[in-house]
Structure formats: structure tokens, C-alpha cells
Subunit: 356 residues, 2 copies
């Protein structure tokens, strides 16, 4: 097989621990399926601020750009929270998304059987919930012009939210295509009764919709969507929305599954390149103690196999191994009902490796 | 007693039905407590578009401005959804908020005992949930400059989000004061890791916080708040946030209580003037059938008594009457477990009137 190059960014907090387990899984798939991977580690986030004086060093970008895919652990922590904007991990995150052209963020929110009870929602409401939020990731108010100015009413801050037709069309078409591969339902979320960007968004959605006649489309206002996710989560299939709304709704959707510690995500651009990371954060409070659950990161690797490399067999094997290990009753402490029987990060990784 | 003038806006859908019941309650409090009210009806929303060619006729504004408070039913419906911007009910809503200087929107989200089971959340998670979202209502991206322009990537739409110190400070101080009258906890919600307006917001909050030393303050990022509302709803007391985030979070909070059909809201400006309305919408699908639940509107009246008029006795009496009627087992169809025993809108209104 040809060699696939993966840039590995461990990051901060529990990042290094969970990424290490995913790397073991990576090796295992080389043995079992004959894949060949070359990994290169790069500094990013808080650790890069500490060691290089910037959250996104030029070398890191170079490593990512020369790779076929990026595996990211997690970034951030209280240590850097009061830094100036340029020296904050989040700034690196926004920077890497823009620099790598990752305009689309896919966040599947599914309910893991063994975690059904972890949700604060009633099990009967959650039943069958399996949705995917497709979030626009390089436009909108995140990247618009920002400034301060004096006004008659004191200092004023301004953020600008802009979207052009090209930006909207590429993410919307991708969402339609994803829906075609799933249950063929698409909810486009906007605030068209107030925002001009939302009105443009809706126009584009309505213009391209006829190209996907097999997909059932609904327009949902963002406030209503925040409610309907609670009311009828299982009725959603694919949700597509702009950057800021996607940030809020994808977190709401992930949390309501009760499985947030197990969810993978992908950030994609044009072509097959992608950055894959767990939905959970860097959890600095439990870092370095072997308590972290590596499953979301391992499932992010499976998503990489499937989406960037087309390695369906390997992806299936990883996902099946995770299921087997969970079905056999093994739990890290975050998902263990009886904490005294919880296994460590490395034990979980080893079990999954052995199950492949 | 001096005469209090109330502008009554029935609006669209079930608006006229629920407002009629609140007016009966109003009359009853005149008899029981000797209050004196003068009501004046005004056209607004869809019906105003139909009859006057604009959602917010000049006369309606005049009526509101000459009143001590406004009682609003609900506006909007599919009939006007495809109208151009100027001829949409929402445009009237934004216009009336701005014209009356209603910069603060209070949305209490409480769980009604008889409706505990209506929530999709587990009862043990919901236990003790009683929070208030204080939403900034006349600034931010709702009212910033909006336009289209040509770009190299096709047509582009732009929305501008701006906040100045004065706008932030008045709503934040109000939220601190409200917290002082409740459980003394304030969560200020922003996206300070990305938005300049949020950074200004947080600066102002931190600057005024020492004036309220008895209030426990936390800063919560908006995406995290969307999650924590699901995770630990009962831990919130007062949540203060900007217009767009408040739109989304107040709807999420209302829905998770399961009691959304029963929640009242207030929009306030400087002084005691306020506009009061149920949180639920115009529900055009059940309009005119006597199926609507008038309780949220009646409780909005109680909120008006308490907040604008300082009529504590009357407010207490209305709220107690609602409780009594519910405790006696009476239900409109939206909240009835056995629909065959449901009573009508007017029956519910009459029972509450009789209980005062
Ligand atoms: C850290 C922050 C800038 C980031 C975002 O808002 O995009 C995070 O919340 C996310 O969703 O990946
Ligand atoms: C109808 C719409 C303009 C309005 C808003 O977004 O403010 C509504 O959702 C609300 O919350 O009152």
C-alpha cells in the first residue's frame, strides 16, 4: 500500500494520553490490514505557546500541509486563559482551520447503548437519535472584521458576520450529499427572519435543493432548533448551519446524547484532506492521571480512515473493536457506573488494540 | 386608586383568545382589589399588515407610548412568512422593541409541578430548576447594519454586531439586581474567546461586579452554556447575555422545563414601563378553536402587576389562583394527560377568575 502521512498533534491536557492510544491502534491496523502510515508530531495550542511563543508555529502548519490528514487531541487550559488574544490556544484553532481551508466541521451525535443512561434526557426521547451537525467553519462572525471604536455611548466593539454565495454553496452541497448517504433528511438552520446572512443562506439552500430531489429539506430557525433538539432529537438526520449557530447547536446536540466523551469529529476542506479530533476538550483537571477515555480519539481515527483514506475495512474494524470492548463491560472512569472497576486510559487502548 | 393604562395587543393566531381571558382576570382584580385600569386595543403583527399595510402602525406606537404597560398576545403565522421584510410580523416586533426602548427581556424558566412529566428531561435532573434569562433586546446583530454587496466569490451578505459600554452596562446591572432578589447567582454568557463584542461585554461585567459583592458571578461561554443547561439546569439562577445568544438560550431553557406553554415574559426599558407577553407563539394551527391555554398570558399579567405597577397583592392572587385551578386538576388540552377531560380556553379563564 502507499504510505499515508498523518500529522499528529497531541496538544494539551489529556490530549497526549488519548492520542498515544490512537497511535497504538494505528500501528495495529498496519499489522492487520497492511496499511502503511508515516506519522509526524507537531506542537500546537498551549504547549506551542510555552515552547515556541505562538499557538500555531509555522513548522506545525508545514507538517499539516504535507500530510494527508491530521489527528488532533485537544487544546487549551486555564494556564493560557488570561493570555492576550495572540497567545491563546483558541487563536491557534481558528488559525489552523483557516490556513488549512477546513470549511466544514462534521459532528456526529449518536447515542451509545452503554451510555443511554448517562444522558439527562429520558431514554424514550433519545431512542434512535443519530444526527450529524455540518457546521460551516471558516466564515461568518468568527472571521469577519473585529474592532473597537469610540461612540457617544462609550467605547464600542464591533464584529462583522459575512457570507458569500460560494462559501454557503460548498457547505450546503456537502450537507446534501452527506444526507444522501444517510436517512435523506436535511435541516438547514438560520435566522432568516432577522439576519441578512441567513436570508442569503436560505436563498442558496433553496436554489441548490432541486439538485438533491431525494433529500427532504426543512428550514428551521436557530431558536426553534435549540428547542426541537430537546423535543424531538431522533427526528433530525443532518443539520447544516453557519459557524456561530453550529458551535452552539453541535454542543447542545452532543450533550443531549449523553455520549459526549465518545464522539468523534472531522473538519474537512476541498478534496480528501481532513483534521480529526474528539469532541471533548482537554480536561486539564484529569490530565496526566490515566483517567481519560481514549475512545473518542480512536473513533476519530476510524472517521479519518473512512473519510480521508477510504479504508472502510480498517474503519469498520476499529469501530467493531470499540463496540466489543464496551459490550464486554470495560469502562474508563468517566463512563463507569461503578468507578472502582474502571480501567485506565492505556488499558482501554490495549483492549481495543487486542480486539482488532 | 389612580388609573393605570394598559395597551392591549391581541395579535395573531391564538393571541386574541388568550388575551381575552387575561382581560377577564384584569377586570376581576378591579373588583377584588379596587385597582382601576383603562385598556386600549391596538393592531400589531399580521393583522396590522392585513388591515393597515404595516406590522407596526403609527397609532399602535402612540397607544403604547401613552400607556403604563403593554399586554401582547402573540404575532405571526404562515400567511405572512413569505412577505418581504417590511411586511413581516417579526419586523414589527423588532420595531416595537426599539421604538419603546425595551432593552431587556426577562424570561423566567420554571418547572410547574403538574407539568414535570411534560419535559423530555429526567425529573431528577429538572428538580429545583428555576432560572431567569435576562436577554439584551435592542442591540447586537439584530440591529446592526445589514447589507448585500458583490464579492469575487459571488454576492455577499453582511450583518454587523455592535455593543457599546452603555448598552452592556445597563443590562448587566439590571441582571445583577435581579440576582440580588433571587438566589444571588449570575452567569454571564458570551463568546469572549472569539468575539470582540463579547470581550467588551466581559470587561464591563468584571468592572461592575464589585458593586454587587453578594452575587456569585460566573462567566460561561455560549457553547458551554448550551450544554450546561442540559447537564445542570437547576444550578442556574440568573443568566445574562446579548441579544442573539439570549434568543437561542432562552428558548432552550424554556423548552427544557417542559412548561413552555405556561411561561410569561417581560420586556423592560428605563423606568417602570414594560411589555408583557407569553413565551409561546401564535400557534396558528389551533387558533380559533378554543384549545389555547391562557395561563402564560394570565401569568404575564401577574408579572406586569408585580413589575410595572408594584401591585404585589394582585400578582400574588393571580398566581395563587392559577395554582389552585391546576391543583384542582383542571387542564387545557395542551397540558391534559387525558385529552378527553380537557377544558376550553374560556373555561380555564373563568375558573381562574373565580379563584381570585
Ligand atoms: C475554542 C473555540 C474557539 C471553538 C469554536 O468556537 O469553534 C470550540 O468551541 C469548538 O467548537 O471547536
Ligand atoms: C420573531 C423573532 C424576531 C424573535 C426574536 O428573535 O427576537 C423571537 O424569536 C423572540 O425571541 O421573541
Amino acid at each position: 500500500a502507499d504510505v499515508k502521512k498523518i500529522a499528529v498533534i497531541a496538544g494539551d491536557g489529556i490530549g497526549p494520553e488519548v492520542v498515544a492510544e490512537a497511535e497504538k491502534v494505528l500501528k495495529r491496523t498496519e499489522e492487520v490490514f497492511g496499511y502503511r502510515f508515516e506519522t509526524e508530531h507537531a506542537l500546537f495550542g498551549g504547549i506551542a505557546i510555552d515552547e515556541k511563543g505562538t499557538p500555531l508555529p509555522e513548522e506545525t502548519l508545514t507538517v499539516c500541509k504535507s500530510a494527508d490528514a491530521v489527528l488532533l487531541g485537544a487544546v487549551g487550559g486555564p494556564k493560557w486563559d488570561n493570555n492576550s488574544k495572540e497567545l491563546r490556544p483558541e487563536t491557534g484553532l481558528l488559525g489552523i482551520r483557516k490556513a488549512l481551508g477546513l470549511f466544514s466541521n462534521l459532528r456526529p451525535a449518536v447515542v451509545f447503548d452503554c451510555l443511554k443512561d448517562a444522558s439527562t434526557l429520558k431514554p424514550e426521547v433519545l431512542e434512535g437519535t443519530d444526527l450529524m451537525v455540518v457546521r460551516e467553519l471558516t466564515g461568518g462572525i468568527y472571521f469577519g472584521e473585529k474592532f473597537r471604536r469610540e461612540s457617544a455611548q462609550g467605547e464600542e466593539a464591533v464584529d462583522t458576520c459575512a457570507y458569500n454565495v460560494t462559501e454557503v454553496e460548498r457547505i450546503v452541497r456537502q450537507a446534501f450529499e452527506i444526507a444522501q448517504g444517510r436517512r435523506k433528511k436535511l435541516a438547514s438552520v438560520d435566522k432568516a427572519n432577522v439576519l441578512e446572512t441567513s436570508r442569503l443562506w436560505r436563498e442558496v439552500v433553496n436554489r441548490v435543493a432541486p439538485d438533491y430531489p431525494d433529500v427532504e429539506l426543512e428550514h428551521v430557525l436557530v431558536d426553534n432548533c435549540a428547542m426541537q433538539l430537546l423535543r424531538r432529537p431522533s427526528s433530525f438526520d443532518v443539520i447544516v448551519t453557519e459557524n456561530m449557530f453550529g458551535d452552539i447547536l453541535s454542543d447542545e446536540a452532543a450533550m443531549l446524547t449523553g455520549s459526549i466523551g465518545m464522539l468523534a469529529s472531522a473538519s474537512l476542506g476541498e478534496g480528501s484532506f481532513g483534521l480529526y479530533e474528539p469532541v471533548h476538550g482537554s480536561a486539564p483537571d484529569i490530565a496526566g492521571q490515566g483517567l481519560a477515555n481514549p475512545i473518542a480519539t480512536i473513533l476519530s481515527l476510524a472517521l479519518m480512515f473512512r473519510t480521508t483514506f477510504g479504508y472502510t475495512e480498517g474503519a469498520d474494524a476499529i469501530e467493531a473493536a470499540v463496540s466489543d470492548v464496551l459490550n464486554a463491560g470495560h469502562r474508563t472512569s468517566d463512563i463507569a457506573v461503578d468507578k472502582s472497576t474502571a480501567i485506565s486510559t492505556t488499558e482501554m487502548g490495549d483492549l481495543i488494540v487486542a480486539a482488532i
